[in-house]
C-alpha cells in the first residue's frame, strides 16, 4: 500500500521565485507594489465584472502573501491594516457586493476557527456545529423583534443598544449548548460521535421549524424578519470626515469591521489557547487519549471545554449574522451548512489557524463569487457557440463543480492547503524563529 508521497520541499522555479519575493528588499518592493496595484485597480474598477473579480481575489491573496512572507512584522501588520482597514472598506462604499463577500468570508472564518477547536485541536468530529450558530442567531432575532411578544405575551423587544451585550450572551449560550451537547456524547468514539452531533444539529433545526406551536418561539418556517441592528454610533464622525454614506453603506462597513474584529479576536483567543496548557491537552487527547489521561489530563473537562469554546464563537457570530441579514429562517442552519464549514476546516488545513481561515475564505469565495462567475462565462461561451448540450446550463451545476473540487483537493492535497505539520517543519528549518510564533 503506497503512502502518499511527501510534499516536495521548496525547489523549482516557482518556489525560488516565491522565496525571493517574500524576503529582503525584493519582498518589500514586491508586496508594496502588489498592494498598490491591486488597490488601484479595485478602486478604479468598482463595477462587478470578471476583471474586478480577479483583482479582488488577487487582493485577498495579498493577505496570504503577507502572512507567508518573511519580512519585518511591523511592515506586515501595516500593510495588512492598509489593505483590510482602508482599501477594502473604501472599495465597499463603491460596490456593495465584494465587501459583503468579504464579510461573509469573515463570518465563516470565525465559524471554521471555532469548529477547528473541536475537530482540529481536540479531534472530536462534530457534524452539527451549525446548531450553535443557529442558537446565537435565534437568540438575538427573538429578543430584538416583536417575536418576543409572541413567545412571552406582553414582552417587548430589547433595544438596539443591547446588541453588544447579546454578542456576549450569544457567546455564553453557545458555550452552554456546547456543554449540553458534550455531556452525553463524551463516551462515544469517532463515528458514533459524528452521528450524534449530526443528530443534535438536526434536532436544533427541526425545533427551529416546529417551535411556532404550541408556543411561538421561533416563528417556525416563516422565519423572523426585521431583526434589529445596533445604532450607527460612528456615522456622525464619518460625516464630519467628509464621507457621505447612506445607511446601507454604513451598515455594510459596520458589519465588515465588526466581523473583522471578531475574526481577529477569535484568532488571538484560539491561537493563545492552542499554545497553552489547554491547547496542548486538546492535541494530546486528539493524538492518544490513553496517553493523555496518563499525563493527568482530565478527559471530560477538557473535551467539554473544547465543545464549549468552539460553540461559543458560533453563538456570538450567530448574533452578528442575524443582525446583518435582517432575516433568518431555519434552512440557513441545515446539515449542508455544517458540512460546508467542516470542509472549510479540512480544505484549509485541519488544526492550523491560518489554514482554516484560508479554507473559509476560499470556500466562501468559490460559493458566492468564483463558481457563479465560471458558470456565467461557460454560459456566455455556450451562447457564443461552444458545444454544450442544450439542457446543460452551467449556472445550475455549481455544486457539481464544488463537489469535484472537494474530491480533487482531498486526492492531491489531503492535508489541506496550509497544513499544520508543514509549518512546524518550516519552523524547524529556520530555528532562529521562536517556536510559538503567533499563528
Amino acid at each position: 500500500m503506497a503512502k502518499n508521497p511527501p510534499h516536495t520541499p521548496e525547489t523549482g522555479l516557482w518556489n525560488q521565485l516565491n522565496a525571493w519575493m517574500t524576503k529582503g528588499p525584493a519582498g518589500y518592493t514586491f508586496l508594496s507594489l502588489y498592494t498598490l496595484i491591486t488597490s488601484a485597480l479595485l478602486i478604479t474598477n468598482p463595477r462587478t465584472s470578471l476583471f474586478t473579480d480577479i483583482v479582488f481575489v488577487l487582493f485577498l491573496l495579498l493577505i496570504l502573501a503577507i502572512y507567508r512572507s518573511r519580512l519585518d512584522m511591523r511592515f506586515k501588520v501595516g500593510l495588512a491594516v492598509v489593505a483590510l482597514g482602508f482599501v477594502l472598506p473604501y472599495f465597499g462604499t463603491l460596490n456593495p457586493y465584494y465587501i459583503d463577500v468579504a464579510t461573509q468570508a469573515g463570518i465563516f472564518a470565525t465559524l471554521a476557527m471555532g469548529l477547528n477547536v473541536v475537530v482540529g485541536f481536540a479531534g472530536l468530529l462534530d457534524l452539527g456545529y451549525v446548531a450553535f450558530y443557529a442558537v446565537g442567531a435565534y437568540l438575538w432575532s427573538i429578543f430584538s423583534t416583536p417575536q418576543i411578544g409572541n413567545m412571552i405575551s406582553g414582552a417587548t423587544p430589547v433595544g438596539e443598544g443591547w446588541f453588544y451585550l447579546f454578542i456576549i450572551i450569544g457567546l455564553m449560550v453557545g458555550g452552554l449548548f456546547g456543554v449540553l451537547l458534550g455531556l452525553p456524547v463524551l463516551r462515544l468514539r469517532g463515528d458514533y460521535l459524528a452521528i450524534v452531533t449530526l443528530g443534535f444539529g438536526e434536532v436544533i433545526r427541526v425545533l427551529a421549524v416546529n417551535l411556532d406551536k404550541p408556543i411561538n418561539i421561533t416563528n417556525g418556517a416563516q422565519g423572523i424578519k426585521d431583526i434589529e441592528r445596533p445604532p450607527l454610533f460612528f456615522a456622525p464622525a464619518l460625516k464630519a470626515l467628509g464621507f457621505n454614506l447612506d445607511n446601507n453603506q454604513l451598515y455594510q462597513l459596520f458589519f465588515y469591521f465588526m466581523v473583522l474584529l471578531v475574526v481577529l479576536i477569535t484568532m488571538l483567543v484560539v491561537g493563545r489557547l492552542k499554545n497553552s496548557r489547554i491547547g496542548r491537552a486538546w492535541t494530546a487527547i486528539r493524538e492518544d487519549e490513553t496517553a493523555a489521561i496518563a499525563q493527568g489530563i482530565p478527559l471530560v473537562r477538557m473535551k467539554l471545554m473544547a465543545f464549549a469554546v468552539g460553540a461559543s464563537f458560533a453563538g456570538a457570530m450567530g448574533v452578528i449574522f442575524a443582525s446583518k441579514q435582517l432575516f433568518i429562517n431555519p434552512p440557513t442552519f441545515d446539515l449542508l451548512r455544517s458540512i460546508s464549514i467542516l470542509s472549510m476546516v479540512i480544505l484549509g488545513g485541519l488544526g492550523n489557524i491560518p489554514g482554516v481561515i484560508l479554507g473559509a475564505v476560499l470556500v466562501t469565495l468559490l460559493n458566492l463569487q468564483i463558481l457563479p462567475r465560471i458558470a456565467e462565462i461557460l454560459r456566455t461561451a455556450k451562447e457564443a457557440g461552444l458545444p454544450i448540450p442544450q439542457s446543460f446550463d452551467p449556472t445550475q451545476y455549481q455544486r457539481l463543480l464544488f463537489g469535484l473540487l472537494m474530491i480533487l483537493m482531498m486526492i492531491f492535497r489531503p492535508e489541506g492547503i496550509l497544513p499544520e505539520d508543514r509549518r512546524r517543519q518550516e519552523l524547524h528549518d529556520h530555528d532562529d524563529e521562536p517556536v510559538e510564533g503567533q499563528a
Binding site: S276, R277, T283, G296, I297
Partner: protein, 258 residues
C-alpha cells in the same frame, strides 16, 4: 517507608483471572521490578495501579491514601506516572510539546490568563519551558526538541516517554518494558538512565522487564507474577534460586520448543 501498597488486588476479565490476589509494597526511593512470562498479568497490574482498570477486589494506597476509585488523571496528578509497553507518545507534537503535556498537572494558569497572556502566564510558560528543556537535557534529547515525536528513532522515543513522565514531578514512575526492542548498547544506556532517575531525581521506579540482566543489575526487589499470581518476591539472589520461578520460566520455554 512504603510509598505504594497494593493489597490483595484481583481483576477478572470474563472468565479469566488476569490478576489474582496480588499484594505488593514498594518503598520510597527503591527500584523494583515486576517480572513474569508473557501473559502473566504484569501490564494489567500496572493498569490497575494507574487507574485505567478498576480492581474487582483489593485496595491501592499511594502515599498513604487510597487511590483505588480514582480516575487515571487524578492518580497521575498525585504523582504516579507511567510509560507504555508499546510507546504512546503524541506523534504529531514536537518533542518539547510532549514534555509540556506531561507538565499539565503543574500548570495552573486560569483560562482568563491564557486569553490575556499576562505576566503570570508568561512566567509560568517560561518556567515550564525551562524545566522541559532541563528534562530533555537529562534524557539527552534537548537538541531534538523541535522534531515531531513520530520522527524520532526508537530509542529516543523511549527516552522521550520517560522525560514526559518525569515532567509531572512524580514520586513514582512505572516503566512498562522500557528496553523492549532495544539493541544491547541502547539497553545499557537505558539501564543507566533508569538508575539516574532514582539517584539524581529521587524517583521511585517500578519496571516490568524481560531483560534479566537489566533486572538483576538494577532492581533492589523483584516480584514474579505467573498466571496473575505473585509466586515469588525478594532480591535477585532469592529470585534466581526460587524453584517456582525457574519452573515458570523454563516450563514456558520448554513448552515453546516442544
Amino acid at each position: 517507608m512504603a510509598l505504594l501498597e497494593a493489597s490483595n488486588i484481583t481483576k477478572v476479565f470474563g472468565g479469566l483471572t488476569a490478576v489474582n490476589d496480588v499484594t505488593l509494597t514498594i518503598d520510597e526511593g527503591s527500584i523494583v521490578s515486576v517480572i513474569g512470562p508473557n501473559g502473566a498479568g504484569k501490564t494489567t497490574f500496572f493498569n490497575i495501579l494507574t487507574g485505567i482498570y478498576k480492581p474487582d477486589k483489593g485496595d491501592v494506597r499511594f502515599n498513604g491514601q487510597s487511590i483505588a476509585g480514582l480516575r487515571p488523571d487524578q492518580i497521575a496528578a498525585r504523582g504516579m506516572r507511567r510509560t507504555f509497553q508499546n510507546i504512546r507518545l503524541f506523534p504529531n507534537m514536537t518533542v518539547l510539546e510532549n514534555v509540556l503535556v506531561g507538565m499539565h498537572t503543574h500548570l495552573r494558569a486560569p483560562f482568563w490568563n491564557i486569553l490575556l497572556r499576562n505576566r503570570s502566564l508568561r512566567l509560568e510558560e517560561g518556567k515550564a519551558r525551562d524545566k522541559s528543556r532541563e528534562l530533555l537535557r537529562f534524557v539527552g534529547l534537548d537538541d531534538k526538541r523541535d522534531n515531531l515525536a513520530k520522527n524520532l528513532p526508537y530509542g529516543d522515543q523511549r527516552r522521550l516517554e520517560i522525560a514526559r513522565a518525569l515532567a509531572g514531578d512524580p514520586k513514582l514512575i512505572l516503566l512498562d518494558e522500557p528496553t523492549a526492542g532495544m539493541n544491547p548498547n541502547e539497553t545499557v544506556e537505558a539501564t543507566h538512565l533508569i538508575r539516574r532517575l532514582r539517584d539524581e531525581r529521587g524517583v521511585t521506579v517500578v519496571l516490568i522487564e524481560h531483560d534479566m540482566r537489566l533486572v538483576m543489575s538494577i532492581s533492589e526487589r523483584i516480584s514474579v507474577l505467573d498466571y496473575g499470581t505473585k509466586i515469588a518476591e525478594g532480591d535477585g539472589q532469592v529470585i534466581r534460586s526460587n524453584p517456582r520461578v525457574i519452573e515458570a520460566y523454563l516450563g514456558k520455554a520448554a513448552g515453546h520448543h516442544g
